[in-house]
Symmetry: D2
Subunit: 260 residues, 4 copies
């Protein structure tokens, strides 16, 4: 089974990249299921119902989130009713939405688990011990399990990869918006990448106009963020998963770039 | 001119990787000058005179450092006398050692500047405004300038790349120990990569035995670090710099792996 | 000379406390000059021209700020023209506003210096080495110098107190909104308190409705801040300064509470 | 019932303060039970069996800890066997030691709960939701419950006070080493103070020689900590608790200082 996992979609330029690059990618890699991190899809911050629907309409079947999950108030209106959208599972019990979900396609079921790191990020519940609990629940329904670990520190992400090696099909890092060059199969058959990267404006600082961020570092003054113009990119990984065992056969990092 | 910049060398396995992989790499890429980040060369923490000398003897001509610079007390004994070694320039005025230095080779002079980020790292002086000051000094002597920006947050690193685009030959990120997949020439001719990666034990968490770090995340108890065994890797970038203009012609990310 | 320094004024309840409690305090302690931290005076976040003018009209002669200085955009419209208002001096060179200023009263001149800590706070310039530079400037005009050190960590605040002991009349900590019980004269004649406290709603979490903050800790969800109702308090210190030497003779912590 | 709660005992000067000041204090305030935070009792970092025994021998009946709990390896040898010593309860399940314990005296039982904050501190389990669980367990045995909340940020500490108001006898903050001036009874009968302060060398930065810490801020270089000499202090609160209801009748902050 071929799964495409797309890195953080940033605003309109990111959605434009989905419209432009996704279909050909799906065909080229004979993709069965497409998952994307959508935490920045609404103008760089959070997600609205309208934008989620646009992404579903354009070929994404399932969305994961991260620290920006609550940035748009609209999320509260639909996250509890939307089965194709999850947020980090290690928010305190009782938080709106779900931390894991399932995609059903071609007679198969794929489990998706979203986790948030805690190093340099808000104080959520332990993603390590939590991972084991949630994976055990998901395992009752399927052996194909994709984990989006939304985290900052490389130490935490790499440790999670090794920790879940052999327990899930893939651990895909998100959040830093820069793709890492370490996509590989770990020893026990789990596909891993520290960060899958970002889908949005290429000549930018994580999606934002570079002048704004440079100025913020120079002046330490607040500034209104504005997304960058110019060329757009789509960052992703293609996973080839053995449907019987849930083990990964292959992981390939993808970068597509083009004029907007 | 071909410059090889090697990512953080971690302990004995990292030095082993230098001994094993450096010479063939230098030949293959016709390297004129080799620079490496040495902040973890002594058992993962800091640098000693003896280990610096070992690295020089094995083909590295210049060492940069980072937040681990003071981890070995021995550094205080030689950093002020050692012209082939720099530490982040944005330590407060009066700190031991130098923040930039020069390599003289084949009638050419290469300036090297070491900077530390401040996001999720100690409170040093501003690396952005400082960069301009130090680059202006270096420019009086040479137009070939390599910057090692030792930083954690991708936003700060990418911003520095764009900020120095056209002002230096290359901005090479270090510190996260994971190579990123974004090596490129920026618009004004500066070579850039968010992180060049790590030289040391491959199946590890940033060099350390994975079981130790996983356990630390699970228990939040302190634990003595121990470097990992098994396969070793060398991470680097090859830079091709125009000696007249100081502009980069090409940047290529390198990963070499082998059994120890 | 008797100087009253008032802790962070929080929103309307804080301004109400000024209206209610300031005059009697000034009379009781025969206050010559009144200074207050105003970083939270506008609805808990920042300061506007209108609110600054209200505070001046109600007996405050000089305002200092902190990390919330830029929260209201209106500040950009008047901070450069307003001589009775300073923001932390260790913002990068070129930031709007001034980091120190002077109060002229009864033939005397009082210098006021505002500094921000860097531990658990944004990456500004070094407040320690900066303090010496700015104090030397101020000393050319007066020996009476009041420092508002707006900082989080007790280690940084206490260290600044000792560092400036004998160099200024008083080091007054602000920012934590909780008055500390360590007001004292240091060895060389500088009056010191780690935090002068908060002026605003008493039964609150730093001014905000307690239910909102408790809920945020429990759910890790964002929440709109709303200031608390109920009893109001004014926190301050009274300083008695020798006008000739600039040394402090006495520091007394003040807490006034009353129904709104 | 009169309970004395003593703030973080720092090294030999802190233990000296216990020897010198505790007995007279216990007599003056007719203390029934004495509790102290011991996380810094061994040379400023952690606790050993020998030092714990010295403190018990000198009149302290129960010790709480904080982020320094694991600083001395010796703690691992006795924390599981020692019923008079607890560490923050919100360490992950399975950590050595206990998070709450009981003191039996004069036919009464006092429950003590130790919690750690998470703001600017390591990523432990949620102290807020955890507090409710552990308090419910303790309540099965006694209605007299003392909470040591070891935390940095005033917002987290004040929020915890209000959150536990009416559920426990007292919430005593520790960790910042500076006593706050906000000891009070909250609305539902819980005694509260944001920080009880430090027991150790007075003219210091949180116990450490002031020159060392000032120098560290100025140079950003590491430095070996050394405890300060000179006058010593004991910081504490006296609690008067209704033994039937567990409600607090009174809280009084105490500071004793003397030559060593
Ligand atoms: Fe993102
Ligand atoms: Fe994120
Ligand atoms: Fe490193
Ligand atoms: Fe580093
Ligand atoms: Fe404030
Ligand atoms: Fe503040
Ligand atoms: Fe402590
Ligand atoms: Fe502590």
């Amino acid at each position: 089974m071929h799964i495409l996992f797309i890195g953080d979609i940033v605003g309109k330029p990111g959605r434009e990249a989905i419209k432009r690059f996704l279909k050909p990618l799906q065909e080229k890699h004979q993709i069965d299921v497409t998952i994307a991190n959508g935490e920045n899809a609404a103008a760089g911050k959070g997600l609205t119902k309208e934008i989620a629907d646009e992404l579903y309409a354009n070929g994404i079947e399932f969305l994961t989130m991260g620290n920006h999950v609550w940035d748009q108030r609209d999320i509260m209106n639909f996250i509890d009713r939307e089965s194709r959208l999850i947020r980090p599972a290690n928010y305190p019990v009782g938080a709106p939405g779900q931390g894991h979900g399932f995609i059903r396609t071609k007679g198969k079921k794929i489990g998706v688990l979203n986790l948030s790191g805690r190093v340099f990020l808000p104080s959520l519940d332990d993603p390590f011990s939590g991972a084991i609990r949630w994976i055990n629940q998901i395992k009752q329904e399927t052996s194909i399990i994709i984990v989006d670990f939304h985290a900052e520190a490389t130490s935490e992400k790499v440790a999670m990869g090794w920790f879940l090696d052999g327990k899930v099909s893939a651990v895909i890092g998100t959040h830093t918006h820069i793709q890492t060059a370490d996509a590989r199969l770990l020893d026990q058959g789990t596909a891993y990448i520290t960060d899958v990267g970002m889908t949005g404006p290429r000549d930018s600082v994580l999606g934002v106009k570079k002048e704004i961020i440079i100025n913020r570092f120079l002046t330490q003054l607040p500034a209104k963020f504005e997304l960058a113009n110019g060329p757009i990119q789509l960052n992703a990984v293609v996973l080839d998963i053995d449907e019987e065992t849930g083990k990964a056969r292959r992981i390939e990092a993808i970068q597509v770039t083009g004029e907007k």
